[in-house]
C-alpha cells in the first residue's frame, strides 16, 4: 500500500490529481460540518450582487447569499451524487459483467445487447429520459447517473473477466471443486481490481459533469439546496452584471473533472502492468 502511494506521488499527474481530489473532499466535508463562512441560506438583502470582497470572497448572488458558502455546499452535493451514482453503477455493472462473462450463452447475449442499446443513447439524454419517468430530485439524479454509467462498467468488467476465465488458474480452481462464488471473487474479482479502480476514477469525472448538467436543467438538486450546476443555471441571466456568479462554480466543475482525470490517468499507468515499465 505504501509502495502504491509512493508510486502515485512519484507520478506527476497523479500528484496534481490527487491533491485536487483530496482538497475537494476536504472542502465538502468541512461544508457538511458547518464550517462555511456564512450560512449558505442566509440572505444579506443589502449586499445583493456584490463582487468579490474581503467580507464575501466570491461575492454574493441575487438574494445576497454568500457564493463561497454556497459553492462549498454545492461541491459537497455534487460529490455526494457523483460518488454514490458511480458506486451503484460500478456495483451493478460489475455484477452484470462478471456473470455475463462467467455464465455466457443466453445470459451473456441478453445482458450485453441490453447494454449495447443503453450505450447507443447519449448519457445526458438517457438520464433525462429516466428523470422524466421518475421525477426530478437528488436521489433520482443519483439513480439516473448510475443507470447511465452501469453499461460502461459492464463492458469494462466483461472483457478481462472473459480472458481470466480461460486462464489455467481458473481451470485449476475448478479441478479442486472450488465453488463458483469463490472463483468469481478470489480469482476473477481480485484480478479486476486494477481496471475497475481506473474506471471508477474516470467515471467520477463524467458523473460530476452529468450531475452539473442535470442540475443546470433543473432536474437534479432542487432549490434552495445548492449544487454546482444549479448555481450556474441561477446566474446565467446575470452573466453580464455579475460574472463572478458563473466563473467560480464553472471553475470548480472544471478543476474537479481535471483532478479526477489526472488521477485516473495516473492510476492507469501505475496499475496496468503493461505500462509499468514505461513509468519506471
Amino acid at each position: 500500500m505504501s509502495r502504491f502511494l509512493t508510486r502515485l506521488l512519484g507520478h506527476s499527474s497523479g500528484r496534481i490529481g490527487g491533491v485536487i481530489v483530496l482538497a475537494y473532499i476536504l472542502i465538502a466535508l468541512a461544508a457538511q460540518a458547518g464550517l462555511t463562512p456564512y450560512d449558505p441560506l442566509q440572505q444579506f438583502r443589502i449586499d445583493r450582487l456584490q463582487g468579490p470582497s474581503m467580507a464575501h470572497w466570491m461575492g454574493t448572488d441575487m438574494f445576497g447569499r454568500d457564493v463561497l458558502s454556497r459553492l462549498m455546499i454545492g461541491i459537497g452535493q455534487s460529490f455526494l451524487v457523483a460518488f454514490s451514482s458511480v458506486g451503484i453503477a460500478a456495483l451493478i455493472g460489475t455484477l452484470l459483467g462478471l456473470t455475463a462473462a462467467w455464465f455466457g450463452h443466453l445470459w451473456d447475449g441478453l445482458v450485453m445487447r441490453l447494454m449495447d442499446v443503453l450505450l447507443a443513447f447519449p448519457a445526458i439524454l438517457l438520464a433525462l429520459l429516466f428523470i422524466a419517468v421518475v421525477g426530478p430530485g437528488t436521489f433520482t439524479s443519483i439513480l439516473a447517473i448510475a443507470f447511465v454509467y452501469a453499461p460502461i462498467f459492464t463492458r469494462v468488467v466483461r472483457g478481462p473477466a472473459l480472458s481470466l476465465k480461460a486462464r489455467d488458474f481458473v481451470d485449476a480452481a475448478r479441478t479442486f471443486g472450488s465453488s463458483t462464488s469463490y472463483i468469481l471473487t478470489r480469482h476473477l474479482m481480485l484480478n479486476l481490481v486494477a481496471p475497475l479502480t481506473v474506471q471508477v476514477t474516470l467515471a467520477l469525472a463524467w458523473s460530476l459533469l452529468t450531475e452539473s448538467g442535470l442540475s443546470f436543467l433543473g432536474l437534479g438538486t432542487q432549490p434552495p439546496g445548492s449544487s454546482l450546476g444549479l448555481m450556474l443555471s441561477d446566474s446565467v441571466n446575470l452573466m453580464e452584471m455579475a460574472p463572478w456568479l458563473l466563473v467560480f462554480p464553472g471553475l470548480a466543475i472544471m478543476l474537479g473533472i481535471l483532478g479526477f482525470n489526472l488521477l485516473g490517468d495516473a492510476l492507469r499507468d501505475i496499475l496496468d502492468p503493461r505500462s509499468r515499465r514505461a513509468v519506471a
Binding site: 488458474f169 481451470d171 485449476a172 480452481a173 469463490y182
Partner: protein, 588 residues
C-alpha cells in the same frame, strides 16, 4: 576460406543509468560460410540476446550493444562491422544477407494477409520484383520448403495452416533473398516432436542445397546433435565452452556443459525405464483409476445458420487402468486428444460417453481423490494470491476451514517439494518457473489425492530444472503411493517416469503396454514414427527423414460411429490397435 562472421568481445546490456544491466559479457566466436554453429543454453543465458544482436534487432528490444566488433563478410566481399553500421545499412543487410526465423511462427506472420502476399512482399522489397515475378518466386519458395500443393496454399491465411506449415513459410521468407547467414532462434520449440523432426530435416537439406551459414539457437542438446558442426555453450551471458560437435559431446571440459548433457533426458528405446513396480502384482490390487470407453465429442457447425455438420471426435473410446504407485504416460502429438482425456477426467470438459471410477484406497477416507498439475506454472497460479491462500484453496473447496493442521500440512509439503519455509507469505512472481511448478505440485497434494494428472507438467521448464522436478515426482510417488497419469509429447521424459505407456493418435489409443515393451518394440506405425522423431545426443548426424503426411481430420459426419476396436496382443501387457480398412479410408 574467409570467415562469414567474426564476433569479438560482444557485450550487450539493457537499461540506462542506475538500472543498466549487462546480460552478455564479451563473447567471441567465428562462423565460416556454410557452417552451422549451435548456441546452447538455458533461459537467461543470453543466447537469444546474442542472436538478436547479430542483426541488431536488439536495438528495438530495448537493449544496447555496449562494446565489441562483429565483422560480417557480405556477398560482394566487403567486410562490415555490424556493431557500428548505420541503420540504413542494417536494413539492407537484414533479409538480403542475414535471414532470421523466430520461435513462434503463429505470431510472426500477419494474420490478415494471405501467406502468398507476405512472401511476395519480401521479394518485392528485397529484389524489386514486379507483381507477377514476385508471385512466381513465392511459389518457388514454397516449393523449396516442401509445401505440397503450393499454388493453392498461397491464398491461405495463417490461421488456416498448422504450426509446422507456418514455420516452413517463415523459413521460405527468411531464405527468400538467399541470405548468406540464417539465424534460427528456437525454431522448433513451439512445435510437436514429429513436426520438429521435419523442420530440422528441412533446415539440414536447405543448408546442403544453398550453402547458407547458420546460427542455431536452442536449449535442447538433443537437437544440436542432428544439425550442428560446432557448438557454443552459454551460461549467465558468458561462453563457457565452444568447440566441434564431437569435442563438446564426447569430451566436455566445463562442468556446466557436462551438467547440461547429463540433464538432457536421454532416450534409449526403453532400456532405461523404471522397474520399481513389479508388473506381476497388478492383478492383486484394485486400480486407483479405471477408465472405460471414454469419449469426448465436440459438436461442429457449418455456415451462417450454424447447421450441425457432425462432431469432432476428440477422444474416442479410451480405456485403461491405473494402479496405485504406477505411472501411465499418455503420449501423442497436439490434436491427438491427450489433454482432452486428462481434462475430461477432471471434469473440465464433459465426456459424451464412457465412465471412469476412482478407488481411493481403503485406509483413510480421501477428500478429493484426483488432482491435476498444469503445463504452464506461470498461468496456473493466480498472481494476486499469496502462497498460503493458493495452498488453502483445495482445502477450502473441500468445505473445510483451514486451521493449524492445514498450516502444518502446508509447511511440511513446502519442505517436501523443496521450497523455503518462508514461502507462505510470498507471491507467485517471486518464484522461478521450476519453483512455481513445485508449488503447483504441493497445492495438488494438499488434499492427499490418490491420482495425480500431470498435463505436460515439465514441458515448460528448462532441462536441468526438468530433471530435478522429475526426480521429485518419482520420490513423491514412491513415498505416497501416488498414481500418475502423465500426459506428455516428450518420449525421453516419458521413458524416465513411466511404467506403462498409452499412445494416443487421432483420439484413440493405438498402442498400450509396459514402457519397455512399447519403447523397445513399438508395433503401431504411429508409435514408430513418434520414436523415430525423438532427437537425442546419440543420434549424431542421423539424417531426419522428411514426411509430408498430415494428421487425419477428426471431423466425422453426424451419426458416425467408429467400428469396434480390435486389439492384437503382442506380448505380456502389450496391446496394439488393429487398423481397420474402413477407418483408414475415412482418414485419407
Amino acid at each position: 576460406m574467409s570467415r562469414l562472421l567474426s564476433v569479438r568481445g560482444l557485450t550487450v546490456g539493457f537499461g540506462r543509468g542506475d538500472t543498466a544491466k549487462t546480460v552478455v559479457h564479451g563473447i567471441d566466436f567465428d562462423l565460416s560460410p556454410g557452417e552451422t554453429l549451435a548456441i546452447v543454453g538455458e533461459s537467461g543465458s543470453g543466447k537469444s540476446v546474442t542472436a538478436l544482436s547479430i542483426n541488431r534487432l536488439i536495438d528495438d528490444g530495448g537493449g544496447r550493444i555496449l562494446g565489441g566488433r562483429m565483422e560480417f563478410t557480405t556477398a560482394r566481399g566487403e567486410v562490415v562491422d555490424l556493431v557500428s553500421a548505420t541503420d540504413r545499412r542494417m536494413e539492407k543487410i537484414r533479409g538480403s544477407e542475414i535471414g532470421m526465423i523466430f520461435q513462434e511462427p503463429m505470431t510472426s506472420l500477419n494474420p490478415v494477409m494471405t501467406i502468398g502476399r507476405q512472401i511476395e512482399e519480401t521479394f518485392r522489397l528485397q529484389q524489386g520484383l514486379g507483381h507477377a515475378a514476385a508471385r512466381l518466386e513465392a511459389l518457388n519458395a514454397l516449393e523449396r520448403v516442401r509445401i505440397a500443393d503450393a499454388e493453392r496454399r498461397l491464398g491461405y491465411y495463417p490461421h488456416q495452416l498448422s504450426g509446422g506449415m507456418l514455420q516452413r513459410v517463415m523459413i521460405a521468407m527468411a531464405l527468400a533473398a538467399n541470405p548468406r547467414l540464417l539465424i534460427a532462434d528456437e525454431p522448433t520449440t513451439a512445435l510437436d516432436v514429429s513436426v520438429q523432426a521435419q523442420i530440422m530435416a528441412l533446415l539440414a537439406e536447405l543448408r546442403r542445397e544453398t550453402g547458407t551459414g547458420m546460427i542455431f539457437i536452442t536449449h535442447d542438446m538433443g537437437l544440436v546433435a542432428g544439425i550442428a558442426d560446432r557448438v557454443m555453450v552459454m551460461n549467465g551471458g558468458r561462453v563457457v565452452e565452444q568447440g566441434t560437435l564431437d569435442d563438446i559431446f564426447d569430451r566436455p571440459q566445463h562442468p556446466y556443459t557436462r551438467h547440461l548433457l547429463q540433464a538432457v533426458p536421454h532416450f534409449s528405446h526403453g532400456r532405461h525405464v523404471r522397474r520399481d513396480v513389479s508388473p506381476g502384482g497388478r492383478a492383486l490390487v484394485r486400480p486407483a483409476l479405471k477408465v472405460e470407453g471414454l469419449t469426448v465429442r465436440f459438436p461442429a457447425t457449418t455456415g451462417l445458420l450454424r447447421r450441425p455438420a457432425g462432431a469432432i471426435h476428440a477422444v474416442e473410446g479410451v480405456g485403461f487402468e491405473l494402479m496405485p504407485g504406477e505411472t501411465l504416460a499418455i503420449v501423442g502429438e497436439s490434436g491427438s486428444g491427450k489433454s482432452t482425456t486428462a481434462r475430461a477426467l477432471l471434469g473440465l470438459v464433459k465426456a459424451s460417453r464412457g465412465s471412469f471410477s476412482l478407488h481411493a484406497g481403503d485406509e483413510i477416507p480421501r477428500r478429493k481423490p484426483i488432482q491435476m498439475v498444469f503445463q504452464n506454472p506461470y498461468a496456473s497460479l493466480n498472481p494476486r494470491l499469496d502462497v498460503e491462500s493458493l495452498l488453502a484453496e483445495p482445502v477450502l473447496a473441500g468445505g473445510v476451514r483451514p486451521d493449524g493442521d492445514t498450516r502444518k500440512r502446508m509447511m511440511s509439503l513446502l519442505e517436501r517439494v523443496g521450497l523455503p519455509s518462508d514461502s507462505l507469505r510470498r507471491y507467485p512472481h517471486e518464484f522461478s518457473g521450476g519453483q512455481r511448478q513445485r508449488l503447483c505440485i504441493a497445492r495438488a497434494l494438499m488434499v492427499d489425492p490418490s491420482v495425480l494428472v500431470l498435463d505436460e507438467a515439465v514441458s515448460a521448464l528448462d532441462v536441468s530444472v526438468q530433471a530435478r522436478v522429475l526426480d521429485l515426482l518419482i520420490d513423491l510417488q514412491n513415498d505416497l503411493k501416488l498414481a500418475y497419469l502423465f500426459v506428455s509429447h516428450d518420449m525421453a521424459v516419458v521413458e524416465r517416469i513411466a511404467h506403462r505407456i498409452a499412445v494416443l493418435y487421432a483420439g484413440q489409443i493405438v498402442e498400450i503396454g509396459r514402457a519397455d515393451a512399447v519403447l523397445s518394440n513399438p508395433r503401431h506405425d504411429y508409435t514408430r514414427r513418434l520414436i523415430a522423431a525423438v532427437p537425442t545426443t546419440d543420434r549424431r548426424r542421423d539424417v531426419f527423414r522428411l514426411q509430408t503426411e498430415a494428421v487425419p481430420s477428426l471431423l466425422r459426419p453426424r451419426g458416425y460411429e467408429p467400428p469396434e476396436a480390435v486389439w492384437a496382443v503382442c506380448g505380456e501387457d502389450h496391446q496394439v490397435l488393429v487398423e481397420q480398412r474402413a477407418m483408414m479410408g475415412e482418414a485419407r
